[in-house]
Symmetry: C2
Subunit: 545 residues, 2 copies
């Protein structure tokens, strides 16, 4: 049997667009002789549809699209993800379904293990599947599962059942898993490991189809795979791109069949490619083409600009230089050099006069109170107003340039430099921003070396340095990583050798600045624990704060 793996980029709620793309791909696969075409989890509505699933109208549109696809290709089998009604009268109203379309008929299989941690909230919508039957097609018995269903290879205590254990007794010939498995920089390795573990455990081939593309903050890297029965990787689809590949399943029982050495890129390349895709899809799917950002001469805006230029093209990314009286000459020079290196347009608007106007307006109230954070924030907010004015007037989207270290400790101005439609680096620690800059410069100096080597500064008062307010980034990022990604508490951090006063100070900064993070733009997620939808914290609380 010939099975096509269709790794596509979907658009949430765009039934017309998704259905057209699915039908075109099925048509292409059919022409290449495929008996069965496999699409990703919840491909029909796009994943994750979130609370759109609560609208009957949305489910009706999913059903209509499924019917349209089934009618378009009655002669080949199609496996595709879509929500399915739970008609039992007990439990949640929907299942997360894998539809099997053939001969005009539609058969539904249900996801049993519903991830409900980090960025996942599937139990919000779906009842866990509780029937475990094989799919019979052209003499083959297929164990059809959905994403999380096969992620327990004996070391994942989150669930009390294991769907493949229930299916294997029915002696399937092969496994097919359809997924929407979001990217993080560890995920490609982990996913390959988990899939291979299933194959070596059950000794039958496994075909795995992931989706690709960005859905606001969630990035999907694709990397679909076919494993032969002996556990060797037979074929793999590209990362961060759509792909279609037809597998003759008979090859998957042949130990001498082709050996695919899937090349998993380096961590920095993965992060780079993921962020570029994230920017591109955000703009494309929203119907925008042009971006705008403030260029300070610092490394965060330089890296953001370089990524945006790669995603959207140099002519579509405009930089605004907004020096104040506290900006150093080299900052302006570095920003100009960056724009020239990238070939992007830029404009310069000094803000000293605007700052003076606010100073005048506020003098009657502030009188002789000393210059403090207030005045620093005013500068950042003046820049925010100018950027948003350009964004509004010229119809481009403002990119936010804050990094994860700043976002974590609240080192940024709400309604100032925290503005933007999308945060590009909000899941990249400052130390990793430096690595990313060097990766971007791997062939030639796009980011001026001076932006990489000079000490970080917000330049909001004379001779200011980030290190005046924060621990050195090497130390800060290590503590943040242990706390945010590692969920280590203060005692564990001190036991690991960190200074108690520094630990307490950093954790307090993180916990008391949650109010800022809940007003920031969506953050492209590249780590296993990003700020945003995957980290839900109360604002009003007193834990470590």
């Amino acid at each position: 049997m010939k099975i096509a793996l269709a790794q596509l980029n979907y658009h949430i709620g765009n039934f017309e667009g998704n259905t057209r793309k699915i039908i075109q791909t099925a048509s292409k696969a059919a022409k290449q002789g495929a008996d069965l075409v496999v699409f990703a989890e919840l491909a029909i509505p796009g994943y994750p549809p979130r609370d759109f699933l609560e609208f009957d109208d949305f489910i009706v549109r999913c059903e209509k699209a499924a019917r349209e696809i089934a009618d378009a290709f009655p002669q080949i089998g199609i496996i595709i993800g879509s929500p399915v009604h739970n008609t039992s009268g007990k439990g949640k109203p929907l299942y997360n379904g894998a539809l099997f379309l053939f001969d005009g008929k539609i058969q539904a299989f249900h996801k049993a293990l519903l991830p409900n941690y980090d960025v996942f909230d599937e139990y919000r919508y779906f009842e866990p599947g509780n029937t475990f039957d094989l799919l019979h097609f052209k003499g083959q018995k297929i164990a059809l599962t959905i994403c999380e269903d096969i992620w327990d290879v004996g070391n994942n205590p989150l669930y009390t059942i294991n769907p493949m254990e229930l299916l294997i007794g029915q002696r399937p010939d092969l496994m097919i898993n359809i997924a929407a498995s979001p990217f993080n920089y560890n995920q490609a390795e982990k996913r390959k490991h988990i899939l291979r573990e299933n194959v070596t455990k059950y000794n039958i081939p496994l075909l795995y189809v992931n989706q690709v593309g960005a859905q606001t903050e969630l990035l999907f890297d694709g990397g679909s795979m076919a494993f032969a029965a002996d556990g060797h990787l037979y074929s793999s689809l590209p990362f961060f791109e759509e792909g279609l590949e037809i597998i003759d399943t008979s090859s998957l029982f042949d130990v001498k069949s082709k050996l695919d050495k899937q090349h998993i890129p380096s961590k920095m390349q993965l992060i780079h490619d993921a962020l570029v895709m994230g920017i591109r899809d955000y703009f494309t799917k929203l119907g925008f083409s042009k971006a705008l950002l403030g260029l300070s001469g610092g490394i965060d805006s330089a890296v953001t600009a370089a990524l945006a230029v790669e995603a959207l093209g140099a002519k579509n990314v405009t930089g605004l230089l907004m020096p104040s009286q506290y900006s150093s000459k080299h900052s302006v020079d570095d920003a100009v050099q960056l724009a020239k290196n990238l070939g992007m347009p830029y404009e310069t608007i000094p803000i000293a006069d605007l700052y003076g106007a606010f100073d005048q307006a506020l003098k009657p109230y502030f009188e002789d109170l000393p210059f403090n954070l207030t005045e620093e924030n005013i500068q950042a907010r003046i820049r925010g107003v100018l950027l948003m004015a350009f964004s509004n007037k010229f119809g481009n989207i403002l990119l936010n340039t804050s990094n994860k270290s700043e976002a974590a400790v609240g080192y940024g101005t709400l309604y100032g430099d925290m503005n933007g439609g999308l945060s590009v680096l909000g899941d990249v620690y400052k130390t990793a921003v430096f690595e990313l800059a060097r990766y971007i410069n791997r062939e030639r100096e796009l980011i001026p070396l001076n932006s990489i080597t000079k000490p970080p500064s917000a330049e909001l008062r004379p001779d200011q340095l980030d290190s005046d307010s924060l621990p050195d980034y090497e130390l800060l990022d290590e503590i943040l990583f242990q706390y945010i990604e590692g969920r280590k508490g203060p005692n564990e951090l001190v036991a690991a050798g960190f200074d108690k006063a520094v630990v307490n100070r950093v954790l307090k900064m993180v916990n008391t600045t949650e109010f800022k993070r809940q007003q920031t733009p969506p953050i492209l997620r590249i780590s296993p624990k990003a700020f945003g939808m995957g980290r839900l914290m109360p604002i009003v609380a007193k834990y470590l704060g």
Copy 2:
């Protein structure tokens, strides 16, 4: 047996404060002869602790606090909510537990039905309880359940089991339910109905303890109750206040025992009291006392100011009037009159000069492009900068004054009038803001009548009216309510008689402005479906957009 119902206001993660309050209350109850004191669901950490639950350190602190409470009062029984380890090795690592503390020992019961819809995400953290045993204490057999466990009275198909059905066979003498049941304007009636249904179904008394107080956006109204075995309400605790009441359970089997006519306030009083509590707790629990807001002369800022004054005291609420060249004389007069009526301090900073400065700074780039939304937004953002400057300089929190209708259709300026630490009216439709204003004026004219009767306007260009851009609020709010609270799709709305073009326009406005709502402050939740944590929508999507 004498059972004390302890309805308290907890502070999330404040183990020292919560434990002290719990012990003081237990002590008070013991002195009044209580055998058993009942506290709310997850009282030890405060509810909802959200992702703090993923920190071992946090759970250890819960355990320590439980031990401290158990040791402080070995002679009386205490029922209290706290997370509990799942030691089975299968399923999620925690249960949502009800601890029974007595004689220095701790016995744990587990919540079986985990709400995971709207503002609830308990399945993110907890394994559903799967053992159903009675609590035996002083010769009484108690069916001890947690909140959602008793919310299925035969018409809630969300779950496949019913804990009380499993417990009733063991012939309990009474039911105790500990809860953290958040307020909405329908909840008090619904809660009473559900509780009574349980009593009439199982024919034993029911003691119900809810928490009270605000946890960022979630408001808890208390209203704890004791029902006699025949279904009559024996006693109820106040709304929006802490309370302690001791019930002699023998009275609950007496059909002639006291009949409590719980007075559920009017919808407007409920909303008013909930919002006042929400403001007060937000400030108190964050350690702030002073608020700031912009006064436009319009109704939204007037109502917000009146609520803030009631919550924090007039001297702690400062109003900023920031008229532009487009502000009408009556707006300034109305704002001044409001401040005087409320007795709150106010300042006036005209923004024409600041606007002129931005106009000058942007002229070289905008050239002769016509005045449009850009210039409207600049005015709103200048006000945002001034308000935040006051907030930063004087250490008060900016209150956001946007209403739910505006938030729904994106009629507001990001980083301008959408700024603030807390949105007071973001869950109150414009038409309800008018009702609330009349409620606030029920005894005397606090809010100038002119602010209530004049046509709403943003006053960002000459002679602007909201009705230039939006359908009349009566119509708009009805469509929004059907769409947001009612989850009706476009076809259902048209079938219900709304004009198709208006429906499509409104739904499109809602869906395409999701990016704005994800950057707004937390919104005090008074309806069954508020924007924020209880309504999770993708930003990048094309459904009805």
